[in-house]
């Protein structure tokens, strides 16, 4: 019986804290995205027209986010029944946007006009314990262009 109680407490904690962290994070993401909207981040490799009056520098943004107990449990159930793993969708969405934001913040420090050729890399962190740890790392990097 105690196992059951511990499990329910863990689930409730995961749900409560996970929900709180997610809502807070989304709020912050949306605000900062508005702030940094003036620095476009574009995926193209070649800039047209090429400008010679700008310096270029690599900018990166890196984030690691962990999933909570509740979401991991739902994802485990989804592995049996199939379907959209919605609980991981928000995790990855947040991680990608946060990584781009951190990259843009670096670009802003350089007074950059834009960041081009941006790339995203995702990896899961589990060190062989894939079943028990659900952390994801997203790295965003690109070339920032800033005036001389």
């Amino acid at each position: 019986m105690y196992d059951l109680i511990i499990f329910i407490v863990l689930l409730a904690m995961g749900y409560g804290f996970g929900r709180y962290a997610e809502t807070k994070h989304y709020k912050s993401i949306i605000n900062r995205e508005k702030e940094l909207n003036s620095i476009p981040a574009i995926a193209t490799k070649i800039l047209v027209p090429a400008r010679n009056d700008l310096n270029s520098q690599l900018v990166t943004g890196n984030v690691v986010i962990s999933i909570d107990y509740f979401k991991r449990f739902i994802a485990g159930l989804r592995n049996i029944f199939g379907g959209r793993v919605t609980s991981y969708e928000t995790l990855l969405d947040r991680a990608r946007r946060e990584a781009i934001l951190r990259m843009k913040e670096e670009a802003k420090k350089l007074n950059a006009e834009l960041v081009f050729n941006i790339k995203l890399e995702t990896s899961s962190i589990h060190k062989g314990r894939g079943n028990s740890i659900g952390s994801v790392e997203v790295l965003a990097y690109g070339t920032a262009l800033y005036p001389h």
Partner: protein, 286 residues
């Protein structure tokens, strides 16, 4: 070329549904599927398991396990009561029951494969009357009569095989654990049904012997004072809650138009003495 950087709407890559909804649908679905599949398998197995001849059951290497318990011969009084209770059962000829006594404080008695029934001193001490003792013995004999030990072992094997086969299928240890627990809960459902069935059979045996079934109520009261009031969920237990066993018993008593609060046959003094000596015997070396 004009480059614009519009604000993107939220919710493209994510779902707005409350995850609790998904949680309940998936959890209830999983529990139901596991429970139904395992119960169906158990019912199929039951059709075969009770066809296993009792002789084969006796040949299983269970005697080693019994020997390890350091069992002793029954004293004359216990022998007498067990024979008395046995006489109320119409057991098949090949179903020979062997009683064992263990000088240990454990408050328990059990029936196992091969018709072995083990009585612990700890339980005998807690009882006050022959009626209660007869209830214990009759309950265990009923387990053997209905082949409950072999059925339970078969359930364990089936559920074990199935759960081993599907474990890790979800890739999540918690989910696998939940599936395992649900499998166990299904087994326990059957285990509890067996307890009720044995209680019923034992009560009819008591009625044959004494004309009333107060021994059953007495025994369950001993359980209540010994193990405390029920403080767990029944679906997590191998045995029904004592309260539920009492209500089944009272129901049976009223259906059979029996009186309650009859006087029960007290333990004879010499048996009480013997129990005391037994206790001292194992306490002395300390």
């Amino acid at each position: 070329m004009e480059y614009s950087n519009p604000e993107l709407p939220e919710g493209i890559n994510t779902s707005k549904d409350n995850p609790l909804k998904e949680f309940f649908i998936l959890t209830v679905g999983l529990l139901a599927v596991v429970f139904v599949v395992i119960s169906a398998l158990i019912l199929i197995v039951d059709n075969f398991a009770d066809k296993i001849p009792f002789e084969m059951e006796k040949e299983l290497p269970i005697s080693g396990f019994i020997e390890n318990l350091e069992t002793e011969k029954l004293p004359p009084y216990l022998e007498q009561v067990t024979q008395k209770v046995l006489s109320t059962f119409e057991l098949p000829e090949n179903m020979k029951i062997t009683f064992h006594y263990v000088n240990d404080d454990t408050v328990n008695a059990f029936a196992t494969l091969g018709g072995h029934i083990v009585l612990y001193r700890g339980l005998l001490e807690k009882l006050n009357s022959e009626d209660e003792l007869a209830m214990v013995i009759a309950h265990e004999i009923a387990h053997v009569k209905y082949r409950h030990p072999i059925l339970s072992v078969s359930h364990g094997v089936v559920v074990g095989v199935v759960l081993t086969a599907v474990s890790n299928s979800s890739g999540n240890s918690v989910v696998n654990d939940i599936m395992g627990q649900t499998g166990m809960a299904s087994i326990m459902k059957f285990s509890r049904d067996y307890e009720y069935q044995s209680d019923k059979e034992a009560i009819s045996s008591l009625i044959k012997l004494y004309g009333h079934a107060d021994g059953a109520l007495g025994l369950f009261k001993v359980f209540e004072s010994e193990f405390g009031k029920d403080n767990s969920f029944e679906f997590l237990a191998t045995h029904p809650l004592t309260g539920n066993r009492i209500s089944q018993t009272t129901k049976m008593i009223s259906e059979s138009n029996l009186t309650s609060n009859n006087s029960m046959i007290r333990y004879p003094d010499e048996f009480k003495m013997w129990l005391k000596q037994q206790k001292e015997k194992i306490e002395k070396p300390k």
